[in-house]
Amino acid sequence: MIFRAVEDADLIHRARKGDVDAFNLLVSRWDKRVFNYILRLVNSREDALDLCQDTFLKAYQNLKKLEEASRFAPWIFRIAHNEAYSLLRKRRPEVDAGEGLPPDHAKTREYPVELSLAAAAALDRLSADQRETVVLKVYQGFKFEEISEILEIPVSTVKSRLYTALELLKSELAPTARRSFS
């Protein structure tokens, strides 16, 4: 991870000087993670792909505003977060962002096992804020400080949202998981 961070910083440094190839390499390293993060927020592959494109385009245009190259990951996820929520607000302005969206990825998931479906359904039942903290922690592996930076909320709020969500998920998933893994 340390070497990876150094290499990313070098790529960012080169991209800031106009090296398009360096930025494209950076995109190829992060696009899958950003895409899946957005996908779990908006529940639509088409929208997720468009938002992913927009995220990296904005990142390129604002790369000089990134003060610390080592903070690229929280920075790009912050942009992705803003892009996703901008769409969600347009899509359902009267509803809390992300709530009540059709769980289409649960229906079309390529892993139609009982546990996978149960996990997807349990995630969809979380609030958008709770789901996003779970995605950033469990699937993206960010530290609390990084999630705090991405969501622009205190670390205490991050932990509160995450642990509330985790208790809900545990009550739904732990029995099923115990049966599946036993």
Binding site: V27, K32, C52, A174
Partner: protein, 210 residues
């Protein structure tokens, strides 16, 4: 409710310092309740991770976007290389190569005739190449000028000779005509002398009868 010295969820998500993790591990070894709680959290995390990341339906391709367009120089070069201009460029390059080869040919032969290594020819500096080209061009120019002067002189001589012959021919004709006239005058003069002599003789003649 957990009785662990630190939050088991922080332990699960690796948010504790090494010393804190050690304390939690020690507690877990002695507390079945906390061990069961941690097991439930791990099962929940494992269940969530059965949802795998998806591959992107298509590659994120920003290279085609406007902000990723190549520099003006690159665009010009690409445009030039894909246009008809390159034919002219290639033609000019081939012509230049041919001229250079032609110009260097006598020198290369000379090098070969002198049995010098080919590597020496290859190692010529730009100044030497320029000097040889200049010498070859000068030699060719001198030869061409000499040939032109020789031809001009030859043509002039031919024209002069022809004119001389014409003059000589005319002169000879004129001399012949003069000679013919002199000959006629001589014949006439001879005739007149003859007449005069006859007259003189006739005047001086005395008949024996007189």
């Amino acid at each position: 409710m957990s009785c662990s010295p630190y939050d088991l969820r922080d332990y699960l998500f690796d948010e504790l310092a090494p010393a804190e993790r050690t304390d939690v591990r020690a507690h877990l070894a002695a507390c079945q309740s906390c061990e069961a709680e941690l097991e439930s959290l791990r099962l929940t995390q494992s269940a969530l991770l059965t949802i795998r990341d998806e591959e992107i339906p298509q590659r994120i391709g920003f290279v085609s976007d406007k902000v990723f367009e190549p520099s003006p120089l690159r665009r010009w070069f690409s445009g030039f290389w894909l246009s008809a201009s390159r034919i002219g460029f290639v033609s000019a390059a081939m012509l230049s190569a041919a001229i250079l080869t032609l110009a260097l040919r006598p020198n290369v032969q000379s090098v070969h005739n002198n049995a010098q290594p080919a590597a020496q020819t290859v190692a010529m500096t730009q100044a030497e190449i320029d000097q040889r080209i200049e010498a070859a061009v000068d030699a060719r120019l001198t030869r061409a000028v000499d040939a032109a002067v020789a031809k001009a002189v030859s043509d002039s001589e031919d024209r002069a000779q022809k004119r001389t012959n014409e003059i000589l021919a005319a002169s000879a004709k004129h001399v012949a005509a003069e000679q013919a006239e002199v000959k006629e005058l001589k014949a006439e003069l001879f005739y007149l002398h003859s007449v005069k002599n006859v007259a003189t003789v006739s005047a001086n003649y005395r008949s024996p009868l007189q």
